[in-house]
Subunit: 385 residues, 2 copies
């Protein structure tokens, strides 16, 4: 397997994009990524999307997108792993370049979630849980993560204020991200007074419903400087793993074993220790998720990440900045696009072009993307060249 680099990234404004269709969102992000590296063709396309069928009545989006990008006849593959679909698209593109099968591959993620109303969107998202043993009985994702939050509070004494600190921190980061859906700071009062969704999770603990897309271009590392216009970013490691689908089958609600296994594989491939990682983009679909993920990734001991945001450890100027992009909470969470947008943020940071949200001296970054309540995870480690 040969070394692979990211040479182009494309991000677009996320939010309620009623003027843009599913294919429009993809094309906008893909053209931005191609423009970023100065290329006008690729050899293959991977796209991650959770449920274009249920959200917009359109499956078969690999071929559709290749066509609308003006590149019909290209091999085009859609991958899906619920909210980890984007990370998976990046992984498969990495694999295709790494194997030697293709030279230049575009990986994109996209989701158009606001063509349906809120109740319908909640139903569509629930198809990422176990339909027969969870969703059928009426539980939705805020409810599932509320169970995790209650368990964590009970076991480790997590406070309501510590949960809120995750949202406050990520919105502070996102206030510097022009592509974010909600690029504004929030305070403790806003979080604590926001409507209750599923006790203890309030509206401000939840990532929003979002339309969006993101795209990146990969090529062999040895051709990165010849093909791209900007500083290449090397893919050091890639890991993927799954876990039991239904939460009630887990030994431990607060530890995402798929994340732990995916991180183990990514670090083995990267051949580096955790100390080398300067910052993280993680899957904060709910505030509690960021806390459990940081422990599952092995950056905090069990029960110790609950106070990390409150203590400033995971802030932009902290010891280990987490979600400098604003995370899913502030940037938005068009589910299939999220994993690719994490890679876009890693690349901006590792090129030193992240502006006011730049992590100082960032050389190595890690992205963790997760599906459902952690039934699937994808972890990537990238290094600036």
């Amino acid at each position: 397997m040969r070394d692979v680099a990211v040479i182009g990234v494309g991000m677009i404004k996320w939010g309620e994009r009623w003027e843009s269709s599913l294919r429009d969102l993809f094309v906008e992000a893909a053209l931005a990524a191609l423009d970023d590296c100065g290329l006008d063709r690729v050899d293959a396309l991977y796209v991650g999307s959770m449920s274009p069928g249920l959200f917009t009545g359109q499956e078969h989006i690999g071929a559709l997108f290749a066509d609308y990008l003006g590149l019909a006849h290209l091999p085009a593959t859609r991958v899906e792993s619920a909210c980890a679909s984007g990370g998976l698209a990046f992984r498969q593109a990495f694999l295709e370049v790494s194997s030697g099968l293709s030279e230049i591959v575009l990986a994109a993620g996209v989701e158009k979630m606001t063509d349906v109303d809120g109740a319908e969107a909640t139903y569509v998202l629930s198809t990422a849980a176990d339909q027969e043993y969870e969703s059928f009985h009426g539980i939705t994702f805020p409810g599932l993560y509320a169970l995790i939050a209650r368990d964590y509070m009970h076991r480790y004494g997590l406070t309501r204020e510590q949960l809120a600190a995750v949202a406050i921190k990520n919105h502070a980061h996102g206030s510097h991200n022009p592509f974010a859906q909600f690029p504004r700071k929030i305070d403790l009062e806003t979080v604590l007074n926001s409507p209750m969704v599923a006790d203890p999770l309030r509206l401000m603990d939840c990532s929003p419903i979002t339309d969006g897309a993101a795209a990146v271009v990969l090529c062999p590392l040895e051709r990165a400087r010849e093909l791209g216009k900007k500083k290449p970013v090397k893919v050091l490691g890639s890991g993927q793993a799954s876990d039991t689908m239904a939460l009630h089958h887990r030994e431990d609600f607060c530890y995402f074993r798929s994340t732990a296994e995916a991180a183990k594989r990514a670090f083995e491939m990267a051949k580096i220790e955790r100390e080398r990682v300067d910052f993280l983009e993680v899957h904060d679909c709910f505030t509690i998720a960021e806390i459990c993920v940081l422990e599952s990734l092995g950056f905090f001991e069990r029960g110790k990440a609950g106070s990390a945001a409150q203590e400033g450890i995971t802030a932009l100027d902290g010891k280990l900045p987490v979600n400098p992009s604003g995370g899913l909470k502030s940037k938005g969470h068009p589910v299939g696009a999220t994993g690719v947008a994490q890679i876009v943020e890693l690349v901006h940071q590792l090129r030193g072009e992240a502006g006011e949200r730049q992590v100082k001296g960032a050389k190595v970054g890690l992205a963790q993307n997760m599906g459902g309540t952690g039934a699937s995870s994808v972890v990537h480690i990238l290094e600036g060249c």
Copy 2:
């Protein structure tokens, strides 16, 4: 890229499987494939499925299936390319082994289509066409393929009887396949008297709505004899391509350019000529599709495949047997499973264990799997060892 072999195949009875859920179908096929090679573990899982979300309310099936197979924590990826999802799952599994990332990979395809009624199934299938320019206006797949059939008839003088001959031939083959949904012979009268669906296509020109799954196990060729129990089958070539999504954007209705491009790539990788291929499994979702595919693959000149079935050329004992399994027409068409089942048939034939439907002296077989009206195609060439 290293050489890859198929060492295990699993097929199950297809039809209206009301007693089995989506996950049941997958597990039954996966266990059959594992049993066929005598293994009880794999390193990764790929599953092709077109729309488990719309058909059964369940996305995130990679992780779900790994869990229900008793292999939670495994990397598990779902791929989708409409009716070519199964072929794509096989291709991605081939890529993962070929790249050196994994040793033993399970590729499966599954679809559970009878949990919704016929009108709803027709809607779900229409999400494989261009939602904005085709499906929205009311056309469905029988209608789209009827346009192709009319064009072919007009240009090349194809007769109603020649179309029927494709269905009669495939049902004759399928009558020897115990896993087929409709394993019985039909005659010309049956086809010509069957209800009109979309002129000129009658019910007996259409593949059915089916529940089903299929699975195969891949490993490096050099380990195939050590890991498997039976004669390995080598993957000689793999090709994938796309075309414009909407039929009205094509220069030519009757020529599937994605199939032609995918075949070109597969033959380039295989480094063999078409003369070496002893039989084909192709995507006969409608009788007219088999005719156009045979020409797009380059086995017949343009306008010449229309009479192939009528003249016996593509029969089991003909010069180039096509769809010895019974094809989608007789075996059934659980859309995401079809591409993997084609590989299963190739392996049975190349091992010489296809019983009454055995192609005599079969050494090399080709499988062509297609999405929509050919907006995506996957072609594989396999050789017995």
